[in-house]
Symmetry: C3
Subunit: 246 residues, 3 copies
Amino acid sequence: MTMQILSIGLVTLGTMGIIDLIAATTNAFNGALLARRPDHYRNFTVMGIIIMAYFGGIGGGVLRDVLVSKVPSPLVNPWYLILCFAAAALALLIEYNATAKFKDGLFQFMTAFSLPWYAIVGAQTAVDAKLGYVAAIIIGVIGTTGGRYLIDVTCNVIPKQFVRGEFFVLTAAMTAGLYLVLHFSLGWDQTLATAGAFLFGFGFRLTAQALGWEEWEPWEPAGVKTSEKTREKLGEGLHAEFERDK
Amino acid sequence: MTMQILSIGLVTLGTMGIIDLIAATTNAFNGALLARRPDHYRNFTVMGIIIMAYFGGIGGGVLRDVLVSKVPSPLVNPWYLILCFAAAALALLIEYNATAKFKDGLFQFMTAFSLPWYAIVGAQTAVDAKLGYVAAIIIGVIGTTGGRYLIDVTCNVIPKQFVRGEFFVLTAAMTAGLYLVLHFSLGWDQTLATAGAFLFGFGFRLTAQALGWEEWEPWEPAGVKTSEKTREKLGEGLHAEFERDK
Amino acid sequence: MTMQILSIGLVTLGTMGIIDLIAATTNAFNGALLARRPDHYRNFTVMGIIIMAYFGGIGGGVLRDVLVSKVPSPLVNPWYLILCFAAAALALLIEYNATAKFKDGLFQFMTAFSLPWYAIVGAQTAVDAKLGYVAAIIIGVIGTTGGRYLIDVTCNVIPKQFVRGEFFVLTAAMTAGLYLVLHFSLGWDQTLATAGAFLFGFGFRLTAQALGWEEWEPWEPAGVKTSEKTREKLGEGLHAEFERDK
């Protein structure tokens, strides 16, 4: 019977619905891992970590749907809640058993892997709501990075969108833009356009992490004292990992 | 004339509307008290404390209504604003005159007393919006705990949902769930189901506070140093009060 | 062609649409300057400052539109994004070239100049959505101060609504109220009522800044230690500037 609900759920969802579920699940996995990292951990309870996984998993999607005046998908389809819960449990299980090095690599990899999905669904959702292409990119960015914003604000951490972070926002914007070009300008089929945009976003992000590409920070304002040490902690890419290994 | 508006307002509201007003008023009272507690106080002005009372009082209800794509009730019915203002004024009056011990006891008691109302209205609102029972519980939790989230984030405090706090989220979820069972499965009348769910939520919360029941905090992540002392401060129940008295 | 889009955009906008664009642009300018002030600066990247300008510029308008169940104007009309971007660039250019004294004066002046617009549009939007006059003032306040709330929370600063700040919230409320009286009670034409309310809000705010008018902070709660020094930092008016010059 459970199987039947699943199949019905997935059939009625269509391509974008399935991608939205993938987006939620992978981001929930990442949210749970993030809540356990020393820079975000604040003596959270098990319930706290589960809510954090939901923030990461469905936060961006809920913001997206509220902005286009839709009842958020996770409230309509309970599979979001089930899959996000499973993702959080899996993340905690791995976190308990794995070495620090493996966990860090997994977190970096999943950060890249989970990023493009919401950008694509967000862009498509905005177009479905009769919004223009600029708004579609904005909605793509909000869907992709909104969950992380909620997590960071909750943990009293300056949100990642605003500080050095391997082109978090730009990757989301480019992925959404590429999807729009492939699907609407070049007429690619939805699944194919999704695959193309995903591969680009995932690849760009991994490359940025591996090579330590980071956003440009402008000149310091007068009257601010910042040590290089503070800055260094803001990067969290694989590049830093590589450097540490030397 | 004022009396007439009130009676019209309350008649058109129905049971759930009245319970929503009770929820807003009791939570506003608590929000004002919370803003004055040393762990949340940040040199707030009188205006700041009033806004904080509104955050606590109508924040959860506004989030709930936005999620189901409704114009929030407090914008439609000015009685929310009037009653929340009165509750904030009363809380400040008591805060000025009472002893520390009385204030603390009152805050703990009101935390329990104000909790179940929004859980019940949230669950009913979600069902009215044709959402499923799982979504109804989620909406119940968001309505109940959303105001506290806004207050804590505003005060730069880690939100109570995420740290030890006598089953804040679980109590809200169970109260919403019980209301759904009583009203929709067992066919109890709305007022009766509300009374049942309220008594359960209020009683469970008081018991958790008195006995010091708290959520389970998992193993510390590697690389995090937390003293027992930091943890202890997170609990704020009557249990701690009792302990202190010994 | 660009010119044509602009003219079409502005023609269809009407008076309130144009005022909304002015509100967004001036508040975005201020948001970018704010992100660079020592009390808010947190090693932001260029992208971070741009997003902060959008928070300040369109944050309040988005909250307002979500509350009245409308798709936010900045998602429908791309000119919001273009003008906010230009305002942020201009602010950074000035910030790079100007002296500390000039920047500070400009920021104070712009804080007053950008304040009344959103209060007026918010009040009108609420009335258009068939909400009452009390709700219209609340929506005016949320539109005016919502962007600043998002910026402050993002920067881990206690939001300005809650601490001493030259009647930030009250000025917004009075401006919205005056617009409603002029337009709906006295029957002034929309443009004239806007001009009247703007002049009042701008003038009141400038006066409050120049004379150092600040909200009343109630008695300290027991158990809180606050030095006078901490408090002083919360004021940011021209009055403090004048004092410093002596």
